[in-house]
Symmetry: C2
Subunit: 356 residues, 2 copies
């Protein structure tokens, strides 16, 4: 089993802590370890370190090697720029196929938290077995506990296979991030799960599926594969990435494919998708305040303060996020934390590069 960690994200939802040069996966927000370090640690008991590949952009490489000095450049697959998950997964697949045609791939994000590592390993093993036995495409679905609007959902069919308390269902459909009313219906229905973005399949299987659902992408990949290890690979890669369409694997492949399964489990999973998620994952005082770093709250409840240097003093405020990082300060209500990207967009429009 090989792991492919998609680490190319340039998350903006943790601004001002995350910056263009320092996306979320390279940050240690909740732990002394960074999210990408934690992601790899979580895999190594099950997957040989040499079998873990990272897909990322060249600008991030130095930073990655600083955080993961064990990694050798051969384990890093560079993308010239992001084109969503389908090209990223296709690129990793053609490399793995060259190394090991019969490999099973686990594709996973670099910046999520999974608390129940035992169940996670169990799920990966069930997935590997199914991927080999029945040529299936397997995804991990998280039992939702609230009508979250920040996640994609997977609807499963009624029939399930059980294994050690973990249920495996056939997938009916993938759903984009819903509005709140829809999310409530999803939760009530009982057959919708959160899409963790973790996939398990044979390398051969995903390439076959890309061929049938995204033939253009497949043709480009096939052509590129022939140049792997050769001098013209970087140039070919660049050209390929310029041409291909940006599309997600869910929408481009999974949605239309047969033989797609979901492993339903409760992993203590969190995508740490916003400052509000950081709040939810943090320890709180008796007034529900979470203070990470240098903060002080008088007469306030359920706030998140994050500052590694200057003192953040909050008075008479409820449900607020206040973050100081480097040369910027963010103030927004917890329920608006998902919209921090709007601020970052405005900084971009105004060319305020010193804050990006």
């Amino acid at each position: 089993m090989y792991a492919v960690i998609m680490a190319g994200g340039t998350g903006t939802r943790f601004w001002p802590r995350s910056r263009e040069e320092k996306p979320k996966q390279f940050l240690s927000i909740l732990d002394s370890k960074t999210l990408i370090q934690m992601t790899i640690e979580r895999l190594t008991p099950l997957i040989d370190k040499k079998h873990i590949f990272l897909v990322m952009n060249p600008q991030q490489q130095t930073q990655l090697l600083a955080q993961l000095p064990d990694f050798i450049p051969e384990q890093i697959i560079l993308e010239p720029f992001g084109k969503n998950t389908a090209p990223c997964i296709g690129l990793a697949a053609i490399h793995l196929q060259v190394l090991h045609p019969d490999s099973v791939m686990v594709v996973l994000p670099s910046d999520h938290i999974i608390r129940d590592v035992k169940t996670f390993h169990q799920a990966l093993q069930i997935g590997e077995e199914m991927a080999i036995k029945s040529d299936a495409m397997i995804t991990i679905g998280i039992t939702p506990n609230r009508p979250a609007t920040g996640y994609g959902y997977i609807q499963h069919s009624e029939k399930a296979l059980h294994s050690d308390g973990i249920s495996v269902y056939k997938v009916k459909t993938f759903a984009e991030k819903p509005i709140f009313e829809t999310a409530k219906l999803f939760l009530k229905s009982g057959d919708f799960l959160w899409n963790s973005g973790i996939f398990i399949w044979k390398t051969a299987t995903i390439l076959r599926e890309i061929r049938s659902h995204l033939p253009e992408l497949y043709i480009g990949l096939e052509k590129l594969q022939k140049t792997i290890g050769k001098v013209n690979y970087p140039k070919q890669l660049e050209r390929f990435y310029r041409q291909i369409r940006s599309i997600s694997i869910d929408y481009g492949v999974m949605e239309d494919a047969q033989n797609v399964y979901v492993i339903k489990c409760d992993l203590g999973w969190n995508d740490v998708g916003s400052w509000d998620e950081v709040y939810k994952l943090s320890e709180k005082d008796k007034n529900g305040n979470a203070i990470i770093g240098n903060g002080m709250i008088v007469d306030g409840e359920d706030n998140l303060i994050y500052s590694k240097d200057d003192l953040v003093a909050v008075l008479g405020v409820k449900d607020m996020v206040v973050v100081k990082s480097e040369n910027a300060i963010l103030v927004c209500p917890r329920e608006r934390a998902q919209d921090v990207k709007d601020l970052v967009d405005m900084l971009k429009r105004k060319n305020m590069n010193e804050y990006l």
Copy 2:
């Protein structure tokens, strides 16, 4: 006419901009000039610069002379520590009496804003005249335009003298900062004015009144006066300040005195008593936001941002104050801005001196 500016305040309501070493009167919050510079500029057309005296504590002297290089040390009257306004005014009076027994004193705070300087000068001249003619104690009362709870009030009688559109009334009573319900009644009654803290009287008059209402203070002052210009003055001053009771001139003298008048006028006066007042005095954009320095607001209304260096980015927030200054950040609702002193108190309790 001599001016006595009380500049010893160590305001905490502008934290984190104001610090122990940098109280409000030495800050330029709304203008390129500091409040004390503006206070003096406002007086000089009417009062000879050499006749302007400042009462302050020794720690502030260097700072003052940096901002007002024209001032000579003889114009600075030092208080070893603050004991409220009665001792401060008494101390200034014994000095003025030595210099000029027939002088008229205008006592005024160092950190207020007055927009209508012409009316202000007119009021001072009316006051001077009354002080000389009828041995009166005159105060300036501001026509209130809202039920403010942050100011003291002066209730006047019905009978008025008029002079050039400015009315002068006999004072009925001085009232402390009221609660909101009381402030509404004050406003409705029509005979309550805001107490500007500006007083006009003959030096001889105020000393006589101190003698009758605060005899202990008077005895100390009399004793101290004999040492002015002598080598034992500083020691005597220190001893005197240790012993005397901390009391305001309003409560200690004015409240019980006869012959107290109030000049009612509308000076465009503001005591700039909190960040909320700064908001009210600042220019706003079409969403009601006031940004002083480096700020950006997305989807927010009626906020105040103040930062001279780092970017303060605010998203989805209404009626909030966000201030970055030096090593600290303040976040509080505008309506709680008066309670910033509670934060400062907590910093003191916790000995967090680097933020004080």
